[in-house]
Amino acid sequence: MLPLAAILTQAQLGGRPATSLSAEQRARLGAMFDAHHDLVWRVLRRFAFNEAQADDGAQQVFLVALGRLDALQRDKERAFLCATALMVARKWRSTPRREQLTEELPETESSSRPDEEAELRRQRAVLDRILAKMDDDLRSVFVLQEIEGLSKRETADALGIPQGTVATRLRRARVAFDELLREDLGDHRP
């Protein structure tokens, strides 16, 4: 297995080693991880990362955050982490396919019943199939705001665009999503 980390990293650290963190900084990073890791992981999943790749990608995101811990305002954490996740996704997609060999992990055990879990997986597959067909600008806004519930301001911060542009893109993204969903229903009934 060639983990994403091996592709995205070199022997160099953007910030500082975690061992040099003060207790307070370490506590903050831990709290940030606990609060937002799932969000970051899901954002990566919506950009076509399999589960193992999302594990690696999310770790990259928090390593980048580690290097900017002092400069990062607490109310901007989610936006910063999502911006970093999108950057990781872009970098990942620009990596030649032959290097993207990260293996799929065994399916995660879930507390849901097997049939429920299977249905959720099927629905997510439909969703990801539709997202993959969306323009990147619309997809980013749709994933962050419509799916993950970031505020308009957080989405604007994460994407580096004005809030008005976020609203416009979200409207267009919803229209595009519905069109693609209708199109998808012709072959795949969710």
Binding site: Q12, P17, L29, W41, Q60, L185, P190
Partner: protein, 245 residues
């Protein structure tokens, strides 16, 4: 197949979104990643942070720097009070003079470098500031007094210093010589500035960009020697390991 009504479509959409929101990473794997990040055992990353609203970040950084400067001042005061009148005043940090004591990033190293008369051990003791410093011995009584004037602690001054440093950094890619010139200006305008340590790192980048390897190596050695807490060591090594642009 008949077309779905808008309501049906909306319900479908919501089901898909709900399924996405319900997805979670494996808890054990997530915990392992968390530990790796916090323990420093995770593979390092060379990813630069994404563009992000910079204005607020600058002030956040300035505030952090102000706190650092205050800590430095406290350590300085604890170490120097009760000393003899000044006989030698250490010169300001001028990056162009390699033999000059450089600006360190931590309090202990700062004292050791700012004043050659301060023994490294004494400087190290300044790290965790004692509540009541031990009485000075005969050796310390003969030490020259360091200037009482504090480094820049005024937020405005810090902001100005930060802006100058940002300007220097901004020249790095296109014109490293301009970076050095700006850093020289920084050294003149903020001889005891709180960001001298960071300025030295920027200078190291500029020297490497200009291919001035010997000068860069000398500076790197000084930075590492001054880095008692290992805060700078990794950055220095990373810069030295970076392939020529």
């Amino acid at each position: 197949m008949s077309a779905r009504t808008p309501r049906e479509l909306e319900e479908l959409r919501q089901r898909l979104l709900t399924a996405a929101r319900a997805e979670r990473p494996d808890a054990d794997r997530a915990r392992a990643r968390r530990d790796a990040v916090l323990d420093g055992t995770a593979a390092p990353t060379d990813l630069e942070p994404p563009p992000f609203p910079a204005g607020s970040r600058r002030w956040r950084r300035a505030a952090a720097v102000a706190l650092g400067a205050l800590a430095l001042l406290l350590a300085w005061w604890l170490l120097t009070r009760g000393e003899a009148p000044a006989t030698v005043r250490p010169g300001p940090v001028v990056p162009e003079v390699p033999s000059q004591p450089m600006a360190p990033v931590d309090a202990g190293a700062a004292l050791a470098l700012a004043d050659p008369a301060v023994e490294p051990d004494a400087a190290a003791e300044a790290g965790p500031a004692p509540a009541a410093p031990a009485p000075l011995d005969a050796g310390t009584a003969t030490r020259p007094r360091r200037p009482a004037s504090p480094p820049a602690e005024d937020p405005d001054l810090l902001a100005k210093e930060l802006a100058l440093l940002d300007e220097a950094r901004g020249h790095l890619k296109a014109d490293p010589k301009a970076t050095l010139a700006t850093l020289a200006r920084h050294a003149r305008e903020f001889p005891r500035g709180a960001l001298r340590g960071e300025a030295e790192l920027v200078k190291l980048e500029a020297l490497l960009a200009l291919g001035q390897q010997q000068e860069a190596q000398r500076l790197a050695a000084r930075l590492i020697a001054a880095d008692r807490e290992g805060l700078v060591r990794e950055r220095v090594k990373r810069l030295l390991a970076r392939p020529p642009q």
